[in-house]
Symmetry: D2
Subunit: 355 residues, 4 copies
């Protein structure tokens, strides 16, 4: 097929993708295979070692890629940057064991929470790499560029937290909304649940229907709260309810907020437009326009709309993104670009795929 | 095919369906063709007069049914009950012109709002049958049985209002929640938009995506507010945001409420369980169970779940129903049963279709 | 909810559903719970014994049903008819061990093939209940009524074979087509793959796409060939290719046939219309009408259309059915009706659910 | 958003897209906006003139693009290449009226059929630009590179014909199959029907179901036959039946062929592998692998698999492509690359989007 035409030049960043047999791994490959400055040198998948990636993900069979290998056979000297797409919980030890010359961009939840107690409470065990946990930078690209650029370990935000924090953090920082009264009703496509076998993600269990899950108890909650608290300068609790929608990709968050004194919905929209002016991936839609997940599918874009609520003193914010791109692998590549000094849009320039 | 085995006996109610070429019309036929006490005598569809219903809805081609006729050719003497499934706005004059011996069960929005000013403000014109408007009974079956049974004209609630009011009205009446702080985030399948031609409901515009629409401005808003106000005994405004989900049928409403002093989520669940004990169509699911639209598909059921919120003093209610059944034609048949003295479950006993 | 209003009278057939935790088991319950002459007395599911069916299939939580029990705890004296919905391969021993007073209606593939060698060749092992295998009646209801009515063990046809044989058997018997040149291109919804965990039926692996599987090697092939051979009076091979479609329910078979000398597409349509005249569940659509799976969803209907092909001397037949109803549980209930002397439509009278 | 970073240099081809408000128009923009050598200078849409493309297709709102204009206001001197995405029938006069310096790449059916009588028979009227009709080159890129490179007017093949001819033409030319016995059973996503308003493409009419349409009468039939006849050197009729699948994108063609004397399925696979060796967009999958539309989504790829049939002397070919890319706009860009001397993969290098 089209192959990977990039020569492995001296300025090329050599990339390893650990856990390449999951959806976020495949999405990293899709994006990186066209990246002008990165070369995929290693793909690991312990249980599928020895197979080609094309055997596991036929849509990528046309790309020139190394075969899958077991993690413990990797020659790390030939690698500059590691993307880690392992499941939550298994990542900590793996990252802790990596040589120190490697930059690490982690897509799991393992290094997102900075507070040891919060981690232990939500995940049921003490963190197994607490030193690293402390040093990890929370990689919401638009809001932490400088820290990310200098980081050795970046914890890429979850898909829901990205959709929530991109609009909320600037509004809290600008004093537009009350941090203590935020309700996030989120809707996600099914790929967010990963490729593991679960009855709950079989087609016939998900098609032609919608349901909420993890009401007020989803593990992305403390991650959102951490982001809101940092913006507010004080602890914040949030109401967060995700729903599963019969579609492959996409997250839409409908966020109900209380306006700060004197603030208006139009004012919030202006604050966000100002904050994201010139950003390549985040865009505030005009008044009346409706952000839709299908308008960002396959892209690293996030669209944000702001609406006046019928309840006095309140507003409604709608944000959308592709959970596998801006909500995972795209933001991870964006963070690699920051770390490696590439243009931030390198590898991420595709327009959305519609319909 | 299976035909309509019912003899037109002396105790049979003779039914006309006005506007039978829309989805709610077809759904009425699906339910009534198996009703033990009703006989479909008239099907109207002005632009398709002369055709069989099976030509318009092939799934019903096997049933023994009269052909479609124009409204102005109907012999009303041979009819006892009229279901009116015309679009909003066109219904008022039609209903006003019907002979007075007819019981009328209207599925449009035309007679749902009792207040003339509210109607005019949301629909942009004065009501054209104000006397009837005043007499119409709002047909939320479980909450207005006696009034419905005596009514000549029943205005069947909209799909969203049914999903919202079934849980909220008892909670307000029982003093469990604060009426002034209710946020309704609703998600609907596409059949709710009807069979008319709109770019926005083409498959390729709706598939594989989700978006909000009519944020804080949808016409079901005043209808919900009317129901809440009646329960509260004072005017109430509500935050209501609907979303379009890539599925044919189903509504899920996630409702964020503020608890009254001393109330708890468990308490709300108990209130609802008590209120709906013994009801054939409304069921409160146990703590932890997740109502899903696929669990009510094709049935007249409404499931309600109650969850503690992470925000102190708040709770989350999830209700689901099939927008074409309990949200439209099923509730209409239920109301006919009340009016005609049939068992309330007649014609409505099918279990949900899953998957 | 609506409950199960039927009294367990003296004339009621007492039913056990073995393997009630799969989709065909749940569909049997959906149909039988409204059956006027059957009472569900036993539901087995070994790994979920002790739970309610509503815990496993929430859409059925409203029905009054016995809890799930382990197979080896069943009191068979209290049962008249057993529906067996176990996976292929595990059924033979279970059925062989059942007391002889029981009528058995099996939905697996275990007793469909009458020839011991054919079974062994396609399933990789000798049949474990060869005596029963010989006595089992192939339960294509419309084409074997008398044998089914007298049978002790009925092997319900597979979903694909039902869609293929209902049109093809009458045409071969009437001499309208050449049995040796039949190509069946079938398309199925995902529920046909069952509720077991397989990567290939995860939503994200099936949504928004289509693919063929088991090309010229699917295990329904010998079953179709057996049916064709019986009609032709000689061995027949067939080309059969199934495809997986992103929908829950439905099978559409597009069948390419060679006309016998002198036959025409119109002639085939007339043959089928004649053969199925008066049948409650099989209907030949008029010339030009297009059978669609959505027109039979949830019903026991099968629609058949016949079209002239552009290749001289050939015709195209399209048949549709709901794989879980006429292709499985509905036909099973139809067979019970034949065995027990009920009206053949009992429990099967619902109209299709559209949209 | 990401914008269009390309400077309009002296070597840049200036492109106009006529009919930019349809799906193929939007898809051209998606591909061309990243093309290294083309600049989108004109977008026409008569009924939406004056609006931005982002207002019509919000997924493209982030790209730097000219506003939509009416066709008769275009300054053709500033244009080198015209892509014409108008509906069938309206294209002929428009193309005939274009200045002669323009290269024209037409995506409609208007110039695909070279024979005047065939055109008139299938479209019901004499061709309105018969001189152009004769000169147009049928733009199946892989099979007509040299003619396309020299053409002034290229008629891009239909989506179904592309899926059928890419495997069939080489096999006929190599003598592997019998041209007179080809049956094509094709399945398409709904975007192939365009963005026009039709009841038949409403979500609720298409979701959760499948049906055939245009059985043995679809207008792509003569186009396929033309291609087969050219390969065979004699007139050929074909059996072609399309089906509509509830997905946005993708075509899968299952093609039933009769082997030439001595040929085998393995031999056909080898013939195709040889013919397409080194091709960037067409790939023959290994024995046993199943082409799936989801493996080509959003890409210009076509995958082909070959399977032995159970009927002696026959084989089954499965081909898949994205109807909006290789089946329309992608192949159009590929043809522009051939005409303009660009690398054939320019603008077309994205990997498929899965899931």
């Amino acid at each position: 097929m089209t192959g990977n035409a990039k020569p492995a030049g001296t300025n090329t960043v050599r990339v390893a993708i650990v856990g390449a047999s999951g959806y976020t791994g495949a999405e990293l490959v899709r994006l990186l295979v066209r990246h002008p400055g990165a070369e995929i040198g290693v793909l690991t998948a312990d249980r599928k070692a020895g197979r080609s990636l094309g055997a596991v993900f036929p849509h990528l069979a046309g790309a020139a890629l190394p075969d899958l290998v077991a993690l413990d056979t990797v020659d790390w000297d030939a690698v500059d940057v590691v993307f880690c797409g392992l499941p939550h919980g298994t990542t900590q030890e793996v990252v802790a064991a990596l040589p120190s010359h490697l930059k690490v961009i982690d897509l799991s939840a393992d290094f997102r929470l900075a507070d040891a107690d919060t981690y232990a409470r939500w995940y049921g065990h003490a963190h197994r790499a607490p030193a690293l946990q402390k040093d990890a930078v929370y990689g919401l690209s638009e809001l932490a560029r400088e820290a990310i650029a200098k980081a050795r370990l970046v914890a890429c935000p979850g898909c829901y937290p990205t959709a929530a924090l991109l609009p909320l953090v600037p509004l809290i920082e600008a004093g537009g909304i009350v941090p203590e009264d935020i309700i996030i009703d989120a809707k996600s496509g099914v790929s967010g649940a990963g490729r593991g076998l679960k009855e709950s993600t079989l087609f016939a269990e998900v098609g032609e229907g919608i349901h909420a899950y993890g009401v007020a108890s989803h593990r992305h909650t403390p991650e959102i709260e951490q982001g809101l608290a940092r913006a507010a300068g004080r602890p914040v609790a949030v109401s967060f309810t995700p729903h599963l929608v019969p579609m492959n990709r996409g997250i839409l968050a409908t966020i109900y907020v209380k306006l700060a004194d004197g603030a208006t919905a139009d004012g919030l929209r202006a604050m966000l437009a100002e904050r994201y002016r010139g950003e390549p991936f985040v865009r505030v839609v005009p008044e009346g326009a409706q952000p839709a997940t299908r308008h960002v599918r396959g892209s690293n874009h996030c669209l944000i709309g702001v609406f006046a609520d019928r309840l006095a003193g309140r507003a409604i914010i709608v944000s959308v993104l592709d959970n596998l791109v801006k909500g995972a692998s795209g933001q991870a590549v964006q963070n690699m670009n920051l770390i490696c000094g590439f243009a931030e849009t390198d590898g991420l320039e595709q327009e959305p795929l519609f319909p």
